[in-house]
Every structure is written in structure tokens, then in C-alpha cells.
């Protein structure tokens, strides 16, 4: 894949420990970083001119083969953060670097799967054409075989000529995953990709994602509100505080792979980790004023 320059290697500082120590100005750069978000702040302005600081100060480093999840109470700017990290929105402050280069727009190496599959798959295109949309930057002669392979990878062989409305929600989201993976990205970003499917399909889709990621060479960044899902899939889980958000905690998961729904979720370690993450999420939720009047942040309301 010679489409992007190799990462400018930094040999000065190498952080090998799982729980990286945070310095005041974000994170120390890591050697294998593919994506780094540094001191990112996002202020959104609504149509009637009211601006809200959604993200105050978030830094994260994503290693080349890492799976990182971001959880947090609703309204903590997870989606906004992901869109900024994908180059879809300009940060108000701070910066995003992809492969060492500042990110100003969308780039071929980053794929995104959005929450609402019914809005992200183009309903007027067949499944095959939808997936081919993700392969537009590939050489023409490769596209057909790559689309076929991507569909096979998510178990949708034979569905290329079908239209989105003919498929179930889970199948549509698998098609969206195929579209994201068809270009062989460096980073796969997912914004609550399983939020609108039933629990059974959800578990199945989690395994599809885990397998896709294991078979690929990409890093994954997952935004979710499901603590168990974050722990099940990730190497690290970042918990965001309530709006305006900061990184409240970072939990290294370290469960052995490959993981399975039936076994991994039954282990005591999984329960422990989930409880730990949940504690932080609840702490963040309380601080937002939804629970008991505790250490409320400066933001009014």
C-alpha cells in the first residue's frame, strides 16, 4: 500500500507500558502510533447561534494494531470526537494526526461506520454498489474482486445485487462494515455501530467486527455506550467525562484473544473490568447533574 508515506518514526520516547502515563499536554507520542488526537476541544454552534463546548480536552494515541473503545455518558461528545478524529469536522482547538501528518480532511486510510445503517447505506444502490463506494480509490481492475472478498468476509456472499431494503438491520450493518473494510484501511472507526439492532444480532456483529479486525492489519476506534461491548472488543477503554468532556480514565483490558461471547463474557476478569469501566461511566454521569449533587463541573445546567 504505497498510497501514504510511512509514519515518521519517533525514537526519542517509547512508551511500552499498557497504562500510559498522561502528561499535562496530552500523551507522550508512541512509536507505533497511527492516529493521535492531541488536546482536542470541540465547540458546536447550533442553528440559532448557541454554542456548546462538547469536548474540552481529549488526547488519545491509537497504536497500529490496537483496538480502542471510547465510552462515556450520553452527551459527552463521543460522536463529535469520532467525527473530528476522522477528519470530518475541524477541531476548535488541538489537532489530529494520522500517520504523523496533521489531518485536515478525510483521508483514504480512515474508514468510518456510522450508527444509522439506514442512513449510511445508500438505499438507491445495490449492496454491491454500496460496498464498491468504499473501493473508489482502488485501481479499477481490483475493485470487483475486492468487493466480493469484503462481502464474503462479512457473510454476505450472493447479496451483491440486493438492495438495502431487502436486508435485515444486522445484514445492512454488515454491508456497511464491508464497505469500510474493502479499501483495507489503516484505521477503522465505528460510531455506535450496533446501537440499532437487537441484542442477539448485536453479539453476532461484535464477533464479525472482532474477526474483521483480527484478519486485517488495521487499528480500530469504537465509540459505544455499551460497557460490556467496549471491554469485550478492546485492548484499551477510554472513559470520557460528561460534557465538556475530558478523559476520565483509561483501562487496559488485556483479556486473551481470540475472545468468544460465551467464554470471555463469563470470566471473572471480564466482570471485574466491566464493573470498573461502569464505575467510571456512572461517576461521569453523576457529575453531569443527572444523579446526586456531587462534584458538579463548572458548566451550568
Amino acid at each position: 500500500m504505497p498510497d501514504l508515506p510511512e509514519n515518521a518514526m519517533r525514537s526519542e520516547v517509547a512508551v511500552e507500558s499498557e497504562n500510559a502515563v498522561r502528561s499535562e499536554d496530552g500523551l507522550p507520542p508512541r512509536e507505533d502510533s497511527v492516529l493521535s488526537v492531541r488536546r482536542l476541544a470541540m465547540t458546536l454552534t447550533s442553528r440559532d447561534g448557541v454554542s456548546t463546548e462538547v469536548t474540552a480536552d481529549v488526547s488519545l494515541e491509537l497504536g497500529r494494531r490496537e483496538f480502542v473503545s471510547i465510552v462515556g455518558p450520553s452527551g459527552s461528545g463521543k460522536t463529535t470526537l469520532l467525527r473530528a478524529a476522522a477528519g470530518l469536522r475541524r477541531p476548535t482547538r488541538g489537532e489530529v494526526r494520522f500517520e504523523g501528518q496533521p489531518l485536515a480532511d478525510v483521508v483514504p486510510g480512515i474508514s468510518v461506520v456510522f450508527q444509522e445503517y439506514n442512513k449510511s447505506l445508500f438505499p438507491w444502490m445495490s449492496i454491491g454498489s454500496n460496498v464498491a463506494m468504499g473501493a473508489r480509490r482502488l485501481p479499477k481492475e481490483q475493485r470487483a474482486t475486492r468487493v466480493e472478498a469484503a462481502l464474503a468476509e462479512v457473510g454476505l456472499t450472493g447479496f451483491a445485487s440486493r438492495y438495502p431494503f431487502e436486508l435485515s438491520g444486522g445484514m445492512q450493518q454488515r454491508a456497511a462494515l464491508a464497505r469500510a473494510m474493502v479499501s483495507d484501511p489503516k484505521v477503522l472507526m465505528m460510531d455506535e455501530p450496533f446501537a440499532s439492532v437487537d441484542a442477539l444480532t448485536r453479539g453476532h456483529l461484535e464477533d464479525v467486527v472482532a474477526r474483521l479486525w483480527e484478519h486485517s492489519t488495521c487499528a480500530a476506534l469504537l465509540v459505544t455506550h455499551d460497557v460490556g461491548e467496549a471491554v469485550y472488543l478492546s485492548d484499551r477503554v477510554l472513559v470520557l467525562s460528561a460534557r465538556p468532556s475530558r478523559v476520565l480514565a483509561e483501562i487496559a483490558v488485556g483479556l486473551p484473544r481470540p475472545r468468544t461471547q460465551r467464554e470471555t463474557r463469563q470470566t471473572p476478569r471480564f466482570a471485574e473490568l466491566s464493573a470498573e469501566v461502569l464505575d467510571y461511566v456512572e461517576q461521569a454521569g453523576r457529575a453531569s447533574g443527572l444523579g446526586s449533587p456531587g462534584a458538579a463541573p463548572a458548566a451550568p445546567g
Binding site: R83, A86, L88, V106, P108, I110, S111, V112, F114, Q115, E116, K119, S120, F122, P123, W124, M125, M133, G134, R136, R137, S161, R162, Y163, F165, E166, R179
Partner: protein, 277 residues
């Protein structure tokens, strides 16, 4: 014939047949309604036996002689052409301006008051102005049609474009779509349901305005013909003209629906093809 369970049958050709039969049934019923109205007209005119109210059969016979006579090329064809040209121009201009206005918020705010002003202008009012500008004839009629029929297309396209889902646009961006490919592959198809709704309204507006313009200032055309016949007390000719206009309107609309159904198949969930899911 088994009557039970056919509706619930998950597979097979039976539901398709059923649908076809139901469609044929409603079509026949519609035809029956038309026949009933024609019969009422016929009986009423026979009972009244008035010189200003011709029978249905007389009107139809007269319409037939119009279609087969010299009036066809003198009046009917020009009217159809004017309507087609006026409608097409309205459609193209309405879609282009509507896309621009819908996509750029600044442009939308800049034009909203202006468009509201022009939209509420009664079109017949423009006929005298356009007669001065374009003279009596086809160009004037087309101009009047465009000033009326552009609005439903423009407003619908603008609303549809402004309401595009941000997630859809983000998805397109992530896929590397921009410029003409973004417009052609995502924006236009996404807005097409609203565009078609606007176009369909524009068809009937085009026909109505065409007749008005021809009555007020035409030198030929079906409107001109109806008006002339009425002033010459050839009442049957007037009625025949009106009948022909109805048929024309119905033809335009049916043709349009045929195209729409084909292009928007993905939306109705009625993609023809290899069969049931």
C-alpha cells in the same frame, strides 16, 4: 381455487397474482366511475335538451374529428409542444436552482423573501407583460408556463437538499465522493423523491397555465381554440376541447408516473427482478 392462506403464503407466485388482480380490479373500478359520470352527462343533457349543453356522445364525436382533422396540427400539437418545453425548462431550472439554494444556506436565506414574493404572484397577471415582451404566440406561452411551474420543483428540491441527512453526506465524504460525483451519485438520488413530487405538481400547473395563457393572448393552441369556439357559439367544440385537455393531462401524468416508478423503485421497495426476498 383455494381461498384460505393465500395472503399469508410467504413464497410463490400467488401473492403477485393477487396483487395484480387487486390492481386490475381497482383500475376497472376507476373506469366504471368514469363511465358512470359520462352516462350521467349523457342522460342529463338529453333530459335538458339545451343548445348550450351538448350530449357526451356529441362532444366525444367532435373531439375525435378534432384529433383527426386540421385542428390537430394547428392547435393541439403546438399546445402539447409548449407544455412540454415549458415543463422541461421549469424542471431543469427548478432542479438546478433548488439544489444550489438548498445546499448553500447563505443563498437560501438571501433568496427566501424574493422567492416568496414571486411565488405568490398570480401568473395570469404576467400574460399582458409577457405579450409585450414576447409577442402573441408560443414563446410567450412557454415563458408564462415557466414562471408558474418552476416553483413547485424549485421549492421541493431546495427543501429536500437542505434536509439531507448529515450522516449520509459524511458517509459520502469518507468514501471520497466530492464535486460532480457527490452530486450525481448521492445528492440527486437522495433528493429525487422530493424532486419527482415537485415535478408532478409542475405538470398540472404547466397544463393549466398553458390554457390560460392561450386564452388570454394566444394566436393558436387548444386554449385559443376553446375560447374561439365559445365566442362563436360552437359550444360542442368547446366541450370537445375540454375533453381533449383532460385526456392530455391524464396522458402526461401517466407517462410521468411510469418514469417515476422506474427511477424510484428503490424507494417503494418494488424493485423488479429475481424474485422474493
Amino acid at each position: 381455487m383455494r381461498a384460505t392462506g393465500t395472503l399469508m403464503a410467504p413464497r410463490g407466485r400467488r401473492p403477485v397474482l393477487l396483487l395484480l388482480r387487486r390492481r386490475l380490479g381497482s383500475w376497472l373500478l376507476g373506469l366504471g366511475g368514469l363511465a358512470l359520470a359520462a352516462l350521467t352527462w349523457q342522460l342529463l343533457s338529453l333530459a335538458l335538451a339545451s343548445s348550450i349543453f351538448p350530449t357526451f356522445s356529441a362532444a366525444v364525436a367532435d373531439a375525435w374529428s378534432i384529433v383527426t382533422g386540421p385542428v390537430l396540427t394547428a392547435d393541439l400539437v403546438p399546445s402539447v409542444l409548449r407544455t412540454a418545453v415549458g415543463f422541461s425548462l421549469s424542471g431543469v431550472a427548478g432542479i438546478i436552482i433548488g439544489l444550489a439554494v438548498g445546499y448553500y444556506r447563505l443563498l437560501r436565506e438571501l433568496t427566501s423573501a424574493l422567492f416568496d414574493f414571486f411565488r405568490s404572484l398570480p401568473t395570469p397577471l404576467l400574460v399582458p407583460v409577457f405579450i409585450v415582451l414576447f409577442g402573441l404566440g408560443g414563446t410567450m406561452v412557454v415563458a408564462v408556463i415557466v414562471t408558474a411551474a418552476i416553483w413547485p420543483v424549485l421549492i421541493n428540491t431546495a427543501n429536500g437538499t437542505a434536509g439531507l441527512d448529515p450522516t449520509m453526506l459524511d458517509t459520502a465524504r469518507v468514501c471520497g465522493l466530492r464535486g460532480p460525483s457527490l452530486l450525481g451519485r448521492v445528492i440527486l438520488p437522495a433528493v429525487s423523491p422530493q424532486i419527482f413530487a415537485g415535478l408532478r405538481v409542475a405538470i398540472s400547473v404547466s397544463l393549466a397555465v398553458m390554457v390560460v395563457a392561450e386564452i388570454l393572448g394566444g394566436s393558436s393552441g387548444i386554449g385559443y381554440f376553446i375560447n374561439n369556439a365559445q365566442q362563436a357559439f360552437q359550444i360542442t367544440d368547446s366541450y370537445a376541447g375540454i375533453l381533449l385537455l383532460c385526456v392530455l393531462g391524464w396522458l402526461f401524468d401517466s407517462l410521468f408516473l411510469l418514469v417515476e416508478r422506474r427511477l424510484l423503485a428503490w424507494q417503494r421497495g418494488t424493485v423488479g427482478g429475481e424474485g422474493d426476498a
